[in-house]
């Protein structure tokens, strides 16, 4: 590195400071979100992959659709997969609500009634000695669907 004076040295350093500053900021935000908003440590740019069993792939979503004379758990279909992955990785109200809205759209598209959508996100946990497996909830939402638009006279 050519150094004409201290100022040149400082200006040259910023070229290396900027990328690592971006890394530190993003990773720090990820740590905060993981600890306060149940973001999976494997995602978000915090380099927490391979540190915990709580990966996005191992989280489970339970989606229950309810209407008069109906209450059932529905499967995550291909059209819901992207929203479901995001909701599982980061089960905050915004992501859960997005999934819920897509569930409502899909159910009504197939002519099935839906008043509420309840979504639960569960993470795996293992006993430290026996590895006995269980699940713990990390996010939940009950979404009340707007009434379908009335058509005709």
């Amino acid at each position: 590195m050519t150094v004409a004076d201290g100022r040149t040295n400082g200006l040259a350093i910023w070229r290396s400071v900027l990328p690592v500053a971006a890394l530190v900021v993003v990773a720090s935000v990820q740590v905060v979100l993981a600890k306060t908003a149940s973001l999976t440590p494997w995602k978000g740019g915090g380099f927490g992959m391979f540190s915990t069993t709580d990966s996005a792939d191992q989280r489970m979503l339970r989606v229950v659709v309810a209407a008069p004379e109906r209450s059932e758990i529905i499967e995550i279909t291909e059209s819901l997969e992207d929203a479901a992955k995001r909701a599982a990785a980061f089960p905050v109200p915004r992501q859960l609500e997005r999934l819920a809205r897509l569930v409502v759209e899909r159910e009504r598209r197939h002519g099935r009634p839906v008043d509420t959508v309840q979504i639960e996100c569960w993470r795996p946990e293992y006993d430290a000695v026996t590895l006995a497996a269980s699940r713990r909830p990390v996010g939940e939402l009950v979404y009340r669907a707007e009434p379908p638009a009335q058509t005709g006279p």
Binding site: A12, R15, A27, G48, F50, S51, T130
Partner: protein, 292 residues
């Protein structure tokens, strides 16, 4: 002072072509699965491979950094961590190309980026994770992830039936239910030792890389730092299914080499292709078949 943000420095040393070419190859090998980003990234990376003027131009890497960042934003929070590092790395290249001494600038960026990334990885494993230090993570992962099955049979001494039975027992019951008397997971003493060794080996090696990259640059630190980075790539990506990360770390290590360090530069290039081989050849399965 004339800005060097858009033009490469004309005088003085140039960034090694190998670093720029291998970074472009990283972008070509793992398309970013958002259609409007993928096309542009493949175009930019392809042109960088073909034309020296393109790959030595700061805007090329600045645009690639932005495109990768846009992909991260588009699929947030689903991007793997090495995609974030790829964006930072492209930015580092763009900025270094405009420096008066690009190789020194990029070498420094590489050390700091790797040091910071590994420091956060160590923070997660050693402090923030509730199930890493006691070995739970690797005990569970090695039994449940089919990609580790061959290595577990080869080194851990478990049979395919053991692994299959354990995988069933490790499936969590739905909605917080817990068995009153859960069956014991079968773990041999060899498997336990394998899990402990992997747990602490990974942590200590990552800590070593972080420390050596973040220490002030000196000739005394240089050789151990390169040894740690190479050892990490050779051991970790033999099993961890994240080849993109391994390639990127190998390229970043290459950027820390001086021109006269031919053996070291060849080693990083070899490791880049070794990680590629790891991802394509089921070597643990081949070894297991040979041994049994």
């Amino acid at each position: 002072m004339r800005s060097r943000l858009l033009k490469p420095a004309r005088d003085g040393p140039r960034l090694p072509d190998a670093v720029l070419l291998l970074t472009a190859i990283c972008l070509l090998l793992r398309p970013l699965d958002v259609w409007w980003v993928t096309g542009l990234v493949l175009l930019g990376a392809g042109l960088a491979v073909l034309y020296p003027a393109v790959r030595h131009a700061p805007p090329t890497w600045g645009v690639l950094a932005i495109l990768v960042a846009l992909r991260i934003a588009a699929v947030w929070p689903l991007s793997d961590n090495h995609i974030y590092l790829l964006s930072y790395w492209c930015l580092a290249i763009a900025l270094a190309l405009g420096a008066s001494d690009p190789p020194s600038a990029l070498s420094r960026s590489s050390r700091w980026l790797l040091g910071a990334a590994f420091a956060f990885a160590v923070l997660w494993k050693a402090v923030l994770s509730p199930d890493y230090l006691d070995g739970r993570f690797f005990r569970v992962t090695m039994l449940t992830d089919p990609r580790f099955a061959d290595a577990v049979m080869l080194v851990g001494g478990l049979t395919a039936d053991d692994i299959s039975a354990d995988r069933t027992m490790l499936e969590p019951l739905p909605e917080g239910a817990v068995l009153a008397d859960p069956p014991a997971v079968h773990e041999s003493s060899r498997f336990r030792a394998m899990a402990v060794a992997t747990t602490w080996g990974a942590l200590l090696l990552e800590a070593l890389v972080a420390v050596l990259c973040l220490m002030p640059e000196s000739r005394r630190v240089e050789v151990p730092r390169h040894a740690a980075i190479l050892a990490f790539c050779i051991t970790t990506y033999a099993l961890a299914p994240v080849a993109g990360f391994g390639w990127l770390i190998a390229v970043m290590g290459l950027a820390q080499c001086r021109t006269e360090q031919r053996l070291l530069r060849a080693s990083y290039t070899a490791v880049f292709f070794l990680v590629l081989l790891y991802s394509e050849v089921p070597w643990t399965g081949v070894l297991h078949d040979l041994v049994s």
